[in-house]
């Protein structure tokens, strides 16, 4: 920071505002003026602070709830040719705030390290992380009814692209079908695979079943990644994937783990911790709101994200999450499944101290929020005549 005055206000004014000031200051300005500006800004900042007692939670809920009525329900949208189908709009918001472990459309943005991100072999890299099963390499399958054996012709080109030979495939297959079948390379050509049952009584039916099973055997790529799409973003190439598995993606040497993201918040929590999950909730909710062309202040989204994550695990905004953690019996009962909560409260002899809003509404008492907070205390003088 250029100006000395900034130092005095460093602890008084949030960094972001100071940065704003610095950017907007004209180049030539006297120190005394800077000081005056900062003085005024500090005053303005203090005047803009939210007052104690302000019911920020409800305001945040309103600020998300109200615009959500204006969102479209359309699950999928077409942002352009080069986009994946992703759940957006209201369903996505509900999904995020529910804290669901399984989300409907997982997606990653895989950023690459320097030489790779220039896009030279982007297609090959993309292809290499896609999960493939044997099905994709099979050219032809024939079953010899007489010998109860099956021959498979594999796609040599495709195999080469992922750098696997027939031998390697056989090894994978042997691993997943430890007993009962033998896998051998065929004699006619390099790409023929012969499969035979080792037990003698095996009938044809089993061979047919095996054929189906074999198709789903995992061969290559990263598990969970169903589709890959190389996209140019700014001046670098990234890979957009459908399906998510950052745990394995991070292990790849060409991936830039600092920037790679996923929309699966649970996975982020598992891999990167609760703070990352918090930020991820903010990002995901903000993304949807932005997409819908709505304007909601960041602070509201932050508060929601914070309350979902303060207990160090992800809690959904539902009766199994945040509401379950409330200390008040009546507050829980007023939300959903009231009988269950009341019965359980009677078993353990819980006490409701009536500290939150809803219980006080129920019993017609002043709510401990906003103007309900200040109390008047009067110290009465003892009357002398009474002594």
């Amino acid at each position: 920071m250029e100006h000395k005055a900034f130092k005095d206000y460093q602890d008084l004014i949030p960094e972001k505002i100071l940065e704003d000031v610095e950017k907007s200051l004209p180049e030539k300005i006297s120190e005394s003026k800077v000081k005056k500006i900062l003085e005024l800004i500090y005053e303005e900042y203090k005047n803009s602070l939210a007052e104690p007692g302000e019911s920020v939670g409800l305001v945040a809920a309103e600020s998300i709830g109200e615009p959500s009525t204006q969102m479209t329900l359309n699950t999928f949208h077409f942002a352009g040719v080069s986009e994946m189908n992703v759940t957006t709009g209201l369903p996505r918001i509900i999904e995020v705030l529910d804290g669901r472990a399984e989300i409907s459309t997982k997606m990653m943005h895989v950023y690459l390290k320097k030489p790779y991100s220039e896009g030279k072999e982007i297609k090959k890299i993309a292809e290499s992380i896609k999960e493939t099963t044997l099905k994709e390499y099979i050219q032809e399958v024939s079953i010899d009814i007489a010998d109860s054996q099956m021959t498979m012709a594999l796609d040599q080109d495709k195999l080469e692209r992922i750098g696997l030979k027939l031998g390697a495939i056989i090894k994978i297959l042997e691993k997943s079908f430890a007993k009962g079948y033998s896998f051998k390379p065929g004699k006619e050509a390099d790409n023929i695979l012969v499969i035979k049952s080792t037990s003698k009584e095996d009938d044809l039916n089993n061979i047919y079943k095996l054929k189906e099973k074999l198709q789903d055997v995992y061969i290559n790529g990263i598990k969970g990644i169903k589709q890959v799409l190389p996209v140019k973003k700014g001046d670098e190439y990234i890979i957009v994937t459908s399906g998510s598995n950052i745990k394995d993606i991070f292990k790849l040497e060409f991936v830039n783990p600092d920037k790679t993201t996923t929309n699966d918040i649970y996975e982020i929590e598992r891999m990167l911790g609760i703070e990352a999950a918090r930020q991820s909730i903010i990002n995901e909710v903000d993304k949807v709101i932005e997409e819908q062309g709505l304007n909601v202040d960041m602070r509201h989204i932050m508060l929601i994200s914070d309350i979902m994550t303060t207990s160090s695990t992800m809690l959904g905004v539902n009766r199994y999450g945040i509401v379950k953690e409330k200390p008040s019996v009546l507050a829980r009962a007023s939300f959903e499944t009231p009988i269950k909560h009341i019965i359980n409260a009677s078993i353990s002899g819980e006490t409701d101290y009536l500290r939150s809003v809803i219980e006080n509404v129920m019993i017609n008492q002043v709510v401990p929020v906003g103007t309900g907070l200040p109390r008047l205390m009067v110290k009465t003088k003892k009357k002398k005549s009474e002594d």
């Binding site: 709830g65 109200e66 615009p67």
Partner: protein, 866 residues
């Protein structure tokens, strides 16, 4: 008179009533299922016993002596002939019976382990609260039920199973509730604590009922039908069953009836008591009325939206409210609401008589309830409410003295709270000042439609009159319309100019808008501005000069209008206000609209809520005045486009059709290059969509370019008052692709959308592209496609509303306790810190400008000081 209760409830304890407590609490023992004797008087010891409270006017409660509405009701009890299992505690009983010894009642955990388990549980409770502890206990019980020998008395344990809903089996042999109760009695207190049971709140054997409380009569009042017949409450019916069967069971036991009969009656009693608590137990047929509809018993009374908690406890009813249709009145101030005289004469404001206002209030009384403004009631200091009628008037006038309260009719300037459902945000309930008007509807300034999300197609709104000084003060300070101008959602003005007013302001702020001095003064006078000294001393006055008279003298502002995006050089695009004079720029909805621009935000910040609201009102009226002055109308001619443009558009669409055909040809020949990660069919769809959208956009642009700029329709569009360019293009040029589920229309008949097309026709027309504009008219199939998407979007709205409503309810429920504390941390009800500083900087969005602090204005202010 209000009975002031000066006690405050500090806490509520939850627990289970022991048989002893039930008996002690009861004021009567119920022994007969009969209700009334021949004279219709409640039977002693019957279910309507007057010791349980009274519901008949004239009777007095035998317990408290109170009359109807004074007596709160008292519980009774019945002695059950045989113990009955409480349906809601079956799970608990099952857990306990399975995991304690059948002989000695000790928990089936060896002594050396029990401390460890307790330690574990307290740890879990500390970490995750009571709920986590319960989950942990559940896991523990699963382990315990496989232990077959008691570690204490070495007794052999048997497998116990539950035959739902209430029968316990030990090795296929029925375990009677007596047996169950005995086992539960044996469990020592220390072992109970492991299960998370607080023995002072609940001894497990209490859950096997031996006595049952009978709810008071006031809880289950009977209704007298028109025919004079009495109709009893569902609960009374159920209790009648219980008492009857219980008596029969007693008699049979005493008479030494065979075991089977007793057993049967016992089961029947169990059934009745179970359905008394919960009539929706899945394994039992619900108890029904004679008409066949299920009885509404205790559980159904409490739960769900219509239940006691959400319907009566969390939601209250109110008096002093009114509801009627709304209609607009731009002549009202923004913070006013026009109410019909009928409403004003029904709703009242209580005013306390003092020596200073006694004459004033006597005036209301002497007018009576039928002459406006009069008064309806007088409340005497002893709390007696006296209705004012023409007969009682004289007497009341004499009687009245300081300390009385007069409920007078509403008058102009009274405080009210105005609301429109759904009340999604705090601006859905705002404080308006009353203005009594002729007519039968509520009138409001159209500028406040936005926060209420109201229109006038038949919407109704509610009006509440606060009755205490405290309530009025809160309404006026916290809920007054001017204080709500800035939305807490994004920190910008949510009330702004719209529709006519916006268009009027746009016209007035045009460079070449000229008025004669007379006209200008006339216009200002018509919006109640009487200060003309700021008008320049000229004969011809420009529109901007008129606007400038409304702007405060020291106001500086720099903003951008909608044009700015297209043309940054245009002086009209930059709104510049210097020392209260509008120097350049047109005021369109980017500056005056809701949720846009900072002009209103800045005025609010610098001059306060009241000025801003006043300013908005003036601007609004001025805009309307301009339109009335100049005249403003739009017609079909405004969407006409020249033959040249028409031809251009046709050419564009035709050439697009050719391109699309080419794509389809490629697709059919399998030579279409696929996009990565897409099938060929998907690629085709995407490419066609892209082409068609481009065609629509291009024709739209031609319309925008060639349409007469000065047409009224264009005025509305450019000002942002109503409509947009897409609307115009759809009317005059081309409606465009009808999209369903993110793609073209594809469903319908086999391989085609409608039977007028050939099979496998993938062309634009066959898949919902409408090339005509609305003015030219739609072809039959085009109309059909439009109605398809119309229906689709209708369904979308219908399905979305409950979904988003539920999301909102959940959010509100989860976050309603969060508030900022005195140390500026955000905490929840249990004082747990959620944020150290609200929103990372502590700034209130309502006080910010679109979420930020306007640094620039302060810098400019300091720099311009010398």
């Amino acid at each position: 008179m209000v009975d002031y209760v000066h006690k405050k409830i500090n806490k509520i304890l939850f627990g289970f009533m022991s048989p002893k407590v039930i008996k002690e609490m009861a004021s009567a023992k119920i022994v007969t299922p009969e209700l009334y004797d021949k004279e219709g008087y409640p039977v002693d010891g019957g279910l309507m016993d007057i010791r349980l409270g009274v519901i008949d006017p004239g009777l007095k409660c035998k317990t408290c002596g109170g009359k109807l509405k004074e007596c709160p009701g008292h519980f009774g009890y019945i002695e059950l002939a045989r113990p009955i299992i409480h349906i809601k505690f079956v799970g608990l009983i099952y857990d306990l019976v399975r995991s304690t010894c059948r002989d000695c009642g000790r928990i089936l955990i060896p002594k050396q382990k029990i401390d460890k388990v307790n330690e574990d549980l307290t740890r879990v409770e500390l970490e995750g609260g009571l709920t986590a502890r319960r989950d942990r206990i559940k896991e523990m019980i699963v382990e315990l039920k496989t232990i077959y020998q008691c570690p204490y008395c070495k007794a052999k344990q048997f497998k116990i199973s539950l035959e739902k809903p209430t029968t316990f089996l030990e090795e296929e042999k029925k375990l009677s509730p007596i047996e169950v109760r005995m086992r539960l009695e044996k469990i020592p207190e220390n072992d109970l604590s492991v299960f998370g049971i607080n023995a002072t709140a609940l001894r497990p054997e209490w859950t096997v009922l031996t006595v049952m409380p009978i709810p008071s009569v006031t809880m289950r009042p009977s209704i007298t039908l028109e025919s004079g017949e009495r109709s009893e409450d569902d609960l009374t019916h159920k209790l009648g069953d219980i008492v009857r069967i219980n008596q029969r069971l007693f008699e049979n036991i005493n008479a030494g009836a065979p075991e089977i009969i007793i057993e049967d009656l016992w089961d029947l009693l169990q059934y009745h008591i179970t359905t008394f608590f919960d009539n929706e137990v899945s394994q039992l047929p619900p108890a029904r009325h004679r008409s066949g509809q299920p009885l509404k018993t205790l559980t159904a009374r409490i739960k769900s939206k219509e239940g006691r908690i959400r319907h009566n406890l969390a939601g209250k009813r109110t008096n002093f409210s009114a509801r009627t249709v709304i209609s607009p009145d731009p002549k009202l101030a923004i913070n006013e609401v026009g109410i019909p005289k009928v409403v004003a004469m029904k709703l009242t404001v209580p005013e306390r008589v003092t020596t200073w206002n006694i004459e004033y209030l006597k005036g209301f009384i002497s007018k009576g309830p039928d002459v406006y403004p009069g008064a309806n009631y007088v409340i005497r200091p002893d709390g007696k409410r006296k209705r004012i009628t023409n007969e009682t008037k004289e007497q009341l006038l004499e009687e009245i003295q300081p300390g009385f309260i007069v409920e007078r009719h509403l008058m102009d300037g009274d405080t009210s709270i105005f609301n429109r459902q759904p009340s999604l945000h705090r601006m859905s309930m705002m404080c308006h000042k009353i203005k009594v008007l002729p007519g039968l509807t509520f009138r409001l300034n159209p500028a406040v439609c936005e926060p209420y999300n109201a229109d006038f197609d038949g919407d109704e709104m509610n009006l509440h009159i606060p009755q205490t000084e405290e309530a009025r003060a809160e309404a006026e300070i916290l809920m007054h319309v001017p204080t709500q101008i800035i939305s807490p959602r994004y920190g910008l003005s949510i009330i702004g100019c719209n529709k006519d007013a916006q268009t009027g302001m746009y016209l007035l702020s045009q460079k070449d808008f000229k008025l004669t001095r007379e006209e200008a003064i006339d216009m200002l006078a018509s919006i109640a501005v009487t200060e003309f000294s700021r008008l320049p001393d000229k004969e011809i006055i420009s529109g901007r000069e008129v606007i400038s008279t409304l702007i405060p003298k020291d106001f500086n502002f720099l903003g951008y209008s909608k044009k700015y995006k297209e043309n940054k050089e245009d002086p009209d695009a930059i709104v510049k206000i210097e020392r209260g004079v509008l120097k350049s720029g047109v005021l369109d909805n980017a500056n005056l609209g809701e949720g846009q621009g900072l002009l209103l935000r800045n005025i609010y910040k610098q001059y306060g809520p009241d000025f801003c609201s006043d300013f908005l009102g003036k601007i609004f009226k001025l805009g309307n005045a301009v339109l009335t002055h100049t005249g403003f109308t739009t017609g079909i001619a405004d969407i006409d486009i020249g033959p040249e443009a028409k031809q251009q558009i046709l050419d564009i669409i035709d050439s697009t059709y050719v391109e699309v055909d080419e794509l389809i040809r490629q697709f059919k020949e399998n030579s279409l290059e696929t996009l990565p990660g897409r099938s060929m069919r998907e690629t085709l769809e995407l490419k066609i969509l892209e082409k068609l959208n481009k065609a629509r956009n291009r024709s739209g642009k031609i319309v925008a370019d060639t349409a007469k700029k000065s047409s009224e329709l264009m005025m509305m569009i450019q000002s942002g008052g109503a409509g947009n360019l897409l609307n115009l293009a759809q009317m005059s040029a081309c409606v465009g692709q009808q999209a369903m589920r993110g793609g073209r229309i594809s469903k319908g008949f086999d391989k085609r959308t409608l039977s007028v097309f050939k099979k496998d026709d993938l062309g634009p027309a066959a898949r919902g592209f409408i090339k005509e504009g609305f003015k030219d008219g739609l072809k039959p199939h085009e109309l059909f496609f439009m109605s398809m998407t119309g229906r689709d979007s209708l369904m979308d709205t219908a399905l979305r509303t409950p979904k988003s409503g539920y999301l909102y309810r959940r959010l509100a429920n989860a976050m309603q306790d969060l508030k900022i504390n005195n140390d500026f941390t955000v905490r929840d009800a249990s004082n747990k810190i959620v944020q150290y500083v609200y929103g990372e900087d502590g700034v209130d969005v309502t006080k910010s400008e679109n979420g930020r602090i306007n640094v620039k204005r302060i810098i400019d202010k300091v720099l311009s000081e010398d």
